[in-house]
């Protein structure tokens, strides 16, 4: 009863706006603490790698960013599907609000990977399966953003975007398995393997701290963007006008 009440309230734009506004500072604070802890363990406590020296510390940004690029895409497409099937406005809002954050993490994964690749592989870029499919992911995000801004009607735009996002889901398993299906310079997974992760605990701790921090970051930034989208959609309602004039 309490739960259904909660979801009912969250589905109303006004309550969503208010509750999101209350959550954001807490999520941002927790995120900041985890980032600081991650940086401390990643840059100061963890020892240099026996093969890669200190260059491997790029991993603490690169790997969580790459995980987020996939995770956010799945959330975006999932919310898109929910919006398409049940016409839930809030799902549409989450879909479109996720795209810029996802694009940013994809960009970070590509750029930090490139910067890491130069000293380790001797090249900034190779057209192999992992790198190319991640680049396509960036274009999918940019396509979602462009398509949304090209269609005037916000609900129509949300539907078009959801379909594009869903078609693009095919790229997600391709990215994930690319290092196993094709020969590549990119190393295979070390953490998400089914047997014991082949990474030392002193390096795993900062990696996981940063991964959780990035996840919290996504949640509070997507809520910030969703609040803007809600305001735009509800601009002609009484509560938004009251809110605007209070300021």
């Amino acid at each position: 009863m309490i739960f259904s009440n909660f979801f009912h309230k969250m589905a109303s734009p006004k309550h969503f706006y208010r509750i999101a506004g209350r959550l954001i500072p807490w999520l941002a604070g927790a995120c900041l603490l985890l980032v600081l802890a991650g940086l401390y363990y990643g840059l100061l406590v963890a020892p240099p790698d026996y093969q890669q020296g200190d260059s491997y510390r790029i991993m603490f940004i690169h790997v969580p960013a790459a995980w987020m690029s996939l995770f956010i895409y799945v959330v975006m497409a999932g919310a898109g599907a929910i919006g398409l099937i049940w016409r839930i406005k809030l799902a549409e809002v989450i879909t479109i609000s996720s795209a810029p954050v996802g694009a940013s993490f994809t960009f970070l994964a590509l750029v930090t990977g490139s910067i890491w690749g130069k000293p380790m592989w001797g090249t900034w870029w190779v057209w192999d399966a992992r790198l190319t499919s991640e680049l396509i992911l960036l274009f999918l995000y940019l396509g979602v953003i462009a398509l949304h801004s090209a269609i005037e009607d916000r609900r129509m735009a949300a539907r078009a975007v959801a379909i594009l996002a869903l078609v693009g889901v095919i790229n997600i398993p391709i990215i994930h398995y690319s290092v196993e299906w094709w020969n590549t310079l990119h190393q295979g997974p070390t953490v998400t393997k089914f047997d014991k992760p082949s990474i030392h605990l002193s390096m795993l701790i900062p990696l996981l701290l940063m991964a959780v921090a990035f996840k919290l970051y996504y949640v509070f930034v997507v809520l910030m963007r969703a609040r803007c989208e809600v305001l735009e959609r509800e601009r002609n309602t009484g509560w938004v006008r009251e809110l605007a004039e209070e300021k």
Partner: protein, 56 residues
């Protein structure tokens, strides 16, 4: 470990600090943009509401 050694990153200073710098920049910009956008939207709506009232 002293500060110089830390900043030197075993010879990989350029690669490590560029990566962390770009990440910081992108993550901070992603917070500033929606924060500023929200203020802009609210100001916009307030302005329109005032205009509508003065016209009627």
């Amino acid at each position: 470990m002293n500060l110089n050694e830390f900043l030197h990153m075993g010879g990989y200073a350029f690669y490590v600090w560029t990566s962390y710098g770009i990440a910081l920049l992108v993550l901070v910009v992603n917070i500033i943009l929606p924060a500023r956008q929200r203020t802009k939207i609210l100001a916009n709506i307030a302005r329109k509401a005032r205009r509508a009232r003065s016209e009627s």
